[in-house]
Assembly symmetry: C2
Homo-oligomer: 443 residues x 2
């Protein structure tokens, strides 16, 4: 049997999981579903979300709260049909090779959960319920405010009326809502119950590795506002020569960037609140961080070291192309999967970055000073870049990026130090030492 | 501020945690405590266990069940004094630089838990309760059988009487036992509650990274019987030349080992039940696994690749000593921490093996085919080898090891293929190409 590997370095062959969201409206279910999907896809695990609300909107674009009253037979029938359509699409997707399907709906009654289990287990797919339970009024209100301005259900409506209708809709759900295993008769189910955004979590009957990875990721999420800053090291002596890898000192201009970085950070933070700084273990990132204020904690991670170019470490692209022409071409054709002889691929880097992503999700404001390939992989996680795109993302030297996660996506701001540096970007097929990225490729 | 790193690659500077075990007797508390301590120490985090029973035995070596009756004032006083002595020692240990102290006792009442919190928080140490709750009669009986034969409390006593007395002791504890947060008034505590050995876990108010690592590790433990098999790849072409690293093919004798391995495994398993095989991504381990039966699942992990010798990759020890004499000596002086230029240290290897250990804890029978340094690190985890010892452990070629975790330690069996191979062991200060380990250093 051929050995298998995958994004998390573990056999998931044969495992297929349906993550069934549970909870009243405005409890952050879609946020959790979207994060889980992004994380899994970044790890090369085929994942997709099936949002029952989207199916329901085909038929009933902007229903009022009455529609969600369980005593309204028309609403009840239509909502049931939407769930059925979503589940059918999901099962088709599983048959076509899907691995983790996320069913995003309230699934707030025992009967509905039983129905989902019956439909999904018939296909040999494991079921794991993920419930978000929240009685923190402030959190719920924040979510309601968010929904009334972003939900397609209330498009073009008066915000106050929308909020009122949405509260009524929630009330209709509350009438029938049962938290998982409230009566002890759902004890056999596999579930993760997240209370008040992680203050308490209950984990029941987790069975295999992939389930445990999903659960561990979800239990580490938080929704406190924060940003992540990304910067490459300042220009290095090897950058000047167009050589990759190595452990060189900063160039004169690279050191200039290091001196300017504190002000750049201050401008982008907007206050003197300290960041925690993560660097790699290589000189050029540590030296780039050395002028930051002393009250910023600093930490070196081996996992943030540059992609290991193996036998090509220290060579120019021209030298690599001369010495290993076939490898050079293979890398251009599938840069994400190409592993340097004795070194790493982008896929390998993603695997070793997984603990960094986990820790980033747990943390608040972090400034990461690392390397081109590593920053591309982290950027790909936040910006949902595909494996085809991520190895080609331009990440210029002497530029600070600020990523701010929002409910539906991540905001990017860019701060340029205006200190000249060589370009280390290389277009497909090129061996140019200092090439500028094509204009349409910009971050 | 100087950047800090540590075994899990994360800043724990300033964090000190007291893990307070909670639960009736015979619920596996000491087993959990011992595993947590071993895991943390392997990650270079100073950890120690303070077992209140051991303190109590100074004064009362073999008390009968009445001693544990809360209506027995003498017993009550003595048990309180033992707890006090254990906590005092633990606090002294924290003041001397301890990071994770584990208080192993029943702590089965709210009052006792409150007392521990007051004593410990005064010192600025965080408290996390870890409760093992079990109502599975078969599990409890297995534990009672274990205790009556291994507990110093019952040394030399008739096993049946011991078991009966122990059951009475448990009953005395049951009278006053309160599971954590049973009444909702311990909701502010940080706790992990493990029900029936992980079937369900509740996690409440985990605050920081180190807490979350401990919790994640403990929630992955299981007690199903299993073994872990370790083997290096068969002898490689580079082994013949005394060169380290690289990605060479097997030698003729190495291939012979690969052909003999299936029988060696079969003999050590004792049945034809299949193992899951993990190899590194290097040819010599993959080829060593290639004759194993097709119903063994095989998986390649980059994390199992050999310690990266950086610029020394492919060199002999003599060449390294000639070219980098200072490095060579530095490595001998502190082999665990020495990082090859552009490569890795044993400490680095442990960090990247952490997910492997986590996955091993979750798994049942696994056969790992990997490399000398990597196997040393995995062996060190199971056998509690110190950082001074682990990089020198002899792991001969063409030898299969079977590790079987037991309640108090790990059993090792060794199966020799009786196929000649060069020795790749090198003594301190030596540059010998093929040296044999000193006889006293044997695994």
């Amino acid at each position: 049997m051929a050995p298998k590997t995958n994004g998390i370095g573990v056999q998931v062959e044969g495992t297929r999981i349906c993550v069934v969201m549970v909870g009243l409206p405005a409890r952050g279910k879609s946020y959790i579903a979207q994060k889980a999907q992004r994380y899994l896809k970044w790890l090369s695990i085929p994942a997709a979300t099936f949002n029952v609300g989207n199916y329901r909107r085909h038929d009933s674009p902007s229903p009022s709260a009455d529609f969600f009253d369980t005593n309204n037979p028309v609403g009840e029938r239509k909502r049931r049909a939407a769930a059925e359509a979503a589940v059918q699409d999901m099962l088709r997707w599983f048959r076509a090779g899907g691995v983790v399907g996320i069913l995003d709906a309230t699934n707030s009654t025992k009967e509905r959960r039983k129905w989902v289990i019956d439909r999904v287990r018939d296909e040999g797919v494991e079921v794991i319920f993920v419930e978000s339970k929240c009685d923190d009024e402030a959190l719920i209100m924040a979510n309601i405010r968010d929904v009334k301005t972003t939900s397609p259900d209330y498009k073009g409506q008066d915000p106050e009326e929308a909020a009122q209708d949405f509260r009524n809709r929630i009330r209709n759900y509350e009438k029938v809502y049962k938290t998982i295993n409230a009566d002890g008769d759902e004890d056999d189910l596999t579930y993760l119950k997240i209370m008040n955004v992680g203050k308490q979590v209950i984990i029941n009957r987790i069975q295999d590795y992939l389930q445990s990875r999903i659960v561990y990721y979800l239990m580490n999420l938080h929704i406190r506002p924060r940003s992540v800053w990304l910067s490459r090291h300042g220009e290095s002596m090897l950058n000047l020569e167009g050589r990759i890898g190595g452990d060189a000192d900063l160039s004169y201009r690279g050191d200039e960037y290091a001196r300017k970085l504190p002000q750049l950070v201050l401008d982008s933070v907007g206050s003197d609140r300290p960041l925690t700084v993560w660097t790699s273990t290589l000189k050029r990132t540590i030296n780039t961080a050395r002028h930051l204020p002393p009250h910023y904690n600093q930490l070196q991670w081996k996992a943030l070291d540059e992609l290991d170019a193996g036998v090509c470490d220290g060579m120019t692209y021209q030298e690599i192309s001369d010495m290993y022409p076939e490898d050079f071409q293979a890398r251009d054709e599938d840069k994400y999967n190409y592993r340097y002889r004795g070194g790493e691929s982008y896929r390998d880097v993603v695997i070793r970055l997984e603990p960094i992503i986990m820790e980033l999700e747990r943390s608040e404001d972090i400034l990461i000073i690392s390397h081109q390939a590593v920053i591309r992989c982290i950027y790909a996680y936040f910006m949902q870049k595909t494996q085809e795109e991520s190895p080609w993302v331009p990440v210029p030297l002497h530029t600070l990026m600020k990523l701010t996660p929002r409910a539906y996506g991540t905001e990017v701001q860019t701060y340029k130090a205006n200190i000249k540096a060589v370009s280390t970007w290389r277009g497909k097929g090129s061996t140019a030492k200092h090439e500028d990225p094509a204009p349409e490729g910009g971050v």
